[in-house]
Symmetry: C2
Subunit: 120 residues, 2 copies
């Protein structure tokens, strides 16, 4: 099964912040080695591609499974409502594709040690 | 030298998000073992304590060095201007204390592997 990953960020009026996310998705590609058919990124608002366009692009490139990975620190409305709503629309349009949402970044077990690595 | 750490988050109207940050600062205390005299958290806006109040509390409890650690993913205006401005005011008020700002979370080297741990 061709499995692709879509990193989702909020999006910013500051283009350099959006570029940081695009660069991060390239670093993800390197770190993931060959575990994914493709790794892309998309933005909830203020930047391109949108989440629907990002999902479409992965499916268009052959993904049979899409995992949406939210690059968010807190479980605000974007995590609980907005991203699931956008994903649900795409899931209805592509019933043959498995589209799932991974836990958001802020839930990662190793955040404390990552934070401490910054003060060493 | 008594070194204390202040985790800084943006702050949210959603109190549960602020609680996530307070819980994270407790997890940091556990992960840091005895490397810091004290570990606290503070918020740029919308939640308490404020950054100045958070710094004051650490100094009041005996910190001779304060490291401010921004729990932010992107280098927006908050990182480049707002947090440094608040820290600079406190540094002028306490010239005998070393107050420094650590790199923000989004710069951490291991973010890609942390993200990939969420999709396993």
């Amino acid at each position: 099964m061709q499995k692709s990953l879509l990193l989702i960020a909020h999006g910013s009026r500051r283009e350099a912040s959006n570029e940081e996310v695009r660069t991060l998705s390239e670093r993800l590609r390197v770190a993931a080695d060959a575990n994914f058919h493709e790794i892309g990124c998309a933005f909830l608002e203020l930047a391109e591609p949108s989440i629907p366009d990002g999902i479409e692009a992965l499916i268009g490139n052959g993904a049979e499974q899409v995992i949406v990975l939210p690059y968010f620190l807190a479980a605000g409305r974007h995590i609980t409502e907005d991203i699931p709503a956008e994903v649900a629309i795409k899931q209805r349009q592509h019933p043959q594709i498995s589209i799932t949402i991974a836990p958001y970044l802020g839930t990662a077990e190793d955040i404390p040690s990552l934070l401490l690595s910054l003060v060493k």
